[in-house]
Assembly symmetry: C2
Homo-oligomer: 627 residues x 2
């Protein structure tokens, strides 16, 4: 179906909004009146600009407080409407949105409303304009779609139909089944918005918290099914009032919006993009580090070994169990988005890319491309194995990998094994502090795999990031949680595949200003975090110190085996528990924007230790700035 977006959903000047909508692949726009009023472009110029951009002007909105008023006021309203119809003529817009009145002067008289809407439509027809009457959820007398439709039906004018808005219908909890009783040709327009489920005043909810379909908790796809079955064939148009989107760059928001409509059409059975190919595991995490020394030392202390080196580029493969880390010391390799500014010691060390083990890398890329993920070049260098990759909203590159699988190119072929005798000398010239020499049992506490990746998202793109990971990668989102750090609340939401082989924790800081120093971490799974922590310390690693008060509280909350709590206290191991089991974890110091976590996860435990995050955040803050 055709897609459209209301200009109020995007930030910037009208010109910027139109450009962003066009680039994201929208077919049309709703022109929001305030955007026109504030624009230096005359309506004819807006019309020409839209034509140049391949956009139709699908709706002009809104007209308010028109109907069911005393005759004198209605005469003034008609006069006002004529002015607007003239603007629409100049604009090339043929449908106007009329919202049900919220005026204290409106009377509860459907017959009068119908009569006046009939008169309005009659006048509109002279200008070649159709009137789409919509029930606002907070309309004074008319606030349900079936009520609005009954007035439209009574008015009985060919230039009068109804406009349906998913938010207004679903926010009130109205059953949308009755939509199918409306003749499709009388549904003049369909506006779509989702919203997180919040118990709050519906007007405030609508004006500040709407989001794109799939980002909230309303069943927009179900509603769309009813509308299509009613016979509606007009555009699917997004109308989203959102305080964050108003501030965000229009370009990414428009792409996010278009993606949401593609996923929505898929969910409603109206489109069949390539099916999602859910990743089964993490093939690798790729770090960039202008200065390899600090992070190499950290990897070595964590028990990683440098096993291979890229044939042509300064990229080392560090491995332990199934955990693979690529360390790229070349010049800036990021090919998408702006890298956040480096912070702290360790220079620009950051997580730049994630290799996702995929059952069908090409299929995963087709899915991603169909949902507007920026596709990266398949080869980094002529001799490299082709590798499908896209960029996530935060700029992280996602590679779809088939690691050492028959018949598929493997990224590992670009690497040459480092001979055993050379293994100990890293790119940084510092010899490995081999684990065997340290006197600790080589297997106890070994890292098995990457448990999860934790990525701080750009503040304005948290909703986008969540929808991206769910729709493009086919991951499931877990509950969103709030976490306090000393200077504000973080929000965190994890996305995972079914068996937990891929877990990505997305989080966002308290305010947009912190975007520059977005911290990331890699959590490494071990069967024995105490042994892992001891190994790490024996190898010279330093764990994040945890305040003693935290352990006094643990003692109050849980019963531990003799000595267990003392061990945690000694090492800085944190503890959490849910219905499914326990979670024990500790943290390394931060290098650049990156740190590591060692985690021991009982099979049934679903979380990420969010309970402990405030303590971790405060401890990291104390480490940086003093307690």
């Amino acid at each position: 179906m055709r897609t459209s977006i209301a200009t109020v959903s995007l930030s910037g000047t009208l010109t910027e909004k139109l450009t962003a909508a066009s680039r994201a692949g929208f077919d049309g726009v709703e022109i929001f009146e305030n955007d026109l009023l504030a624009s230096p472009l005359a309506p004819e110029e807006v019309r020409a600009r839209c034509a140049d951009l391949g956009l139709s002007v699908d709706l002009y909105q809104p007209m308010r407080d028109i109907e069911a008023v005393p005759a004198g006021e209605f005469a003034r309203n008609l006069r006002r409407a004529e002015h607007k119809f003239e603007v629409m003529r100049r604009l090339g817009a043929d449908t106007v949105l009329v919202c049900s009145s919220v005026s204290p002067h409106a009377v509860d008289d459907d017959a009068l409303a119908a009569e006046q809407l009939h008169a309005l439509a009659e006048r509109a027809q002279d200008f070649g304009v159709r009137v789409a009457y919509e029930a606002l959820a907070w309309g004074r007398h008319v606030n349900t779609y079936d009520h609005a439709w009954s007035i439209v039906r009574a008015a009985d004018h060919p230039a009068l139909g109804t406009c349906l808005d998913s938010f207004h219908i679903l926010a009130r909890g109205c059953g949308p089944e009755g939509i199918e009783d409306i003749p499709g040709e009388k549904i003049f327009f369909l506006q779509l918005a989702d919203a997180p489920l919040m118990a709050m005043d519906v007007l405030q909810w609508s004006r500040h918290y709407r989001c794109f379909p799939g980002q909230g908790g309303l069943d927009v796809a179900g509603l769309l099914g009813h509308v299509v079955r009613a016979g509606y064939r007009g555009p699917l148009s997004l109308e989203v009032f959102n305080d964050v989107f108003r501030q965000a760059e229009a370009g990414p928001t428009a792409v996010d919006a278009q993606r949401s409509l593609r996923v929505l059409q898929e969910a409603a059975g109206l489109a069949e993009p390539p099916a999602p190919v859910v990743p089964t595991g993490v093939a690798f995490a790729e770090l960039v580090a202008p200065d390899a020394q600090p992070v190499s030392a950290l990897l070595r202390a964590l028990g990683f070994t440098r096993t291979a080196r890229h044939r042509s580029k300064p990229v080392d493969l560090w491995q332990q169990g199934e955990a693979r880390v690529l360390l790229n010391t070349g010049p800036a390799v990021r090919r998408w988005g702006r890298p956040p500014r480096p912070s702290g010691s360790g220079g620009g060390t950051a997580l730049a890319a994630i290799g996702l083990e995929s059952p069908d890398p090409a299929g995963a890329a087709r899915r991603a491309e169909s949902l507007l993920a920026p596709v990266l070049p398949r080869r980094r260098a002529p001799e490299d194995a082709p590798l499908d990759a896209v960029a996530a909203p935060d700029g992280t590159e996602l590679f779809f990998c088939a690691t050492d699988r028959d018949g598929l190119p493997s990224w590992t072929r670009d690497f040459e094994a480092v001979p055993r005798h050379a293994e100990r000398a890293g790119t940084d010239g510092v010899p490995d502090a081999g684990v065997a020499e340290s006197g600790v049992d080589a297997d106890a506490g070994a890292v098995r795999r990457i448990d999860h990746l934790a990525l701080t998202q750009p503040w304005h793109q948290f909703d986008e990031a969540s929808l991206f990971h769910r729709s493009v990668l086919g991951l499931r989102a877990q509950e969103s949680v709030d976490v306090a750090d000393p200077y504000g609340l973080w929000r965190s939401r994890a996305v995972t595949n079914a068996d937990g082989g891929v877990r990505i924790a997305l989080s966002v800081g308290p305010a947009p200003g912190d975007d520059g120093a977005r911290v990331q971490h890699i959590a490494l799974a071990t069967d024995d975090v105490v042994a892992a922590a001891r190994r790490f310390r024996a190898a010279g690693g330093r764990l994040l110190p945890v305040p003693g008060n935290y352990y006094d509280d643990l003692a109050a909350r849980y019963a531990f085996a003799p000595g267990e709590l003392e061990t945690y206290r000694e090492l800085g191991v944190l503890y959490d528990r849910d219905e499914g089991g326990a979670f024990r974890h500790c943290y390394t110091e931060t290098v650049g924007r990156l740190f590591f976590e060692l985690v021991q996860r009982d099979a049934g435990y679903r979380g990420y230790g969010a309970q402990n995050a405030p303590v971790r955040l405060a401890a990291q803050h104390a480490q940086r700035y003093g307690g």
Copy 2:
């Protein structure tokens, strides 16, 4: 009464919170458990720190989900409580907050709740601890203060009392009169918080939107009266969960908090600080301008004349009618707070100070000082007339003035009249383009006075700014309005005196990042804005261009006299109307952080043209960056 604050109300580490609370004059603190857990200080060290800072530890909180549970669970809860009593002993805290249970395991059995609370109190007594039981507004079975009290009464233990929380009581709309039925000595603690009136889920409301008393819409003073009449003599303690305060600097927030308690005690008749002395007008606005040329040219084009010069400093007095502008070209004069960074052309031109005409300058200063406004030195230089002044939360200096009034020192005595023949040559060396020469009637469109001052506030201190202007200056707050600019929503709230002689519009941008370039403007009142605009243009001034679409909309909305709208369109005059009359206004270009507005206000019009602000903001943006 003694004042206290919960550490969760302030940002930072526990150390930072305690320091801020002490500096702001609090007598004690509630230690929020998470702040202790995340602190590297042992409880004994926290106790010592508090003692050094002159703070008592008035409450430790919270214990949750204790009561009305099966015996096995209660045994575990008692064990947990003992650990906490031990921590409290180390901390020197003698009262613990127990919140009514939200656990799904809690049963609806008041007798069981009372029995278990009795047992808890018995154990607490052994540690010298008192238990204060509080009804959470969302408690599972106990969610009203009278219910909590009835259980406390039934439990009948000397170490068990109740804790009252203004938010939990008022948010549910419970009548607080019944508080007087509780014996004062059984009210172990009183927590105070206000909140803006919002129809939303009470848990979310409580966790994110609480504010200090006087900043929201709850009758906290009324509640306090009941509590005091019941005989409560404990501390007044603030417990505020607020997403913005969590991010703000702890120092100013603590001062804001302490100020709110002083105003609250005054409102409840418990304290008598010096009475507010409401300013009657604006004596002057003082601009700082490292480069005087651009702003001098603007003042001259607006019809101002340089009439006097400071005896010893590079400060000129520009005057027109009752509007007086001081132009200070000396080195940085700000003596309070950090000046925002300069932006755009015109260098650091900014509004640095406001002279408020005061019936009793010394009394106004005493009021301000009693409410913790930072008092500035009374003399700027040895030869200056003494002038009482304080700093507003945004750093603007407020001078309490008696301009040329008998028996009081006047700031004007520091200035020497500029002889008529010298008048035309400003400090910048550019001769005045005198109005008389321009061929325009000298009186029509003349500026009469300053209509209002519009000050963008630091993002984190909007609530503080509003309370400051109301309580310190005795101004009244008008409704808060949302205004859209191309990149987000602004909030704006004006404070005025009764006759509109002083009007200050406080606003705040969409996100904290924009703090650096906080724009200000001075609105100048004229009886004829069209003549004023023409005068200004004839004198070489440039008005902000307003899009034609805006006037098409005006034509649709209002009926104008023939030619009227065309004149507005030609000049860029904006128009608004409310029940009381019309408002016509136009804007100059921006110099540094400052621009001027010319306004013609019908006597009955109460607003500031907020309806037109989106158009103005977009036009200003277009002027800076292109449309």
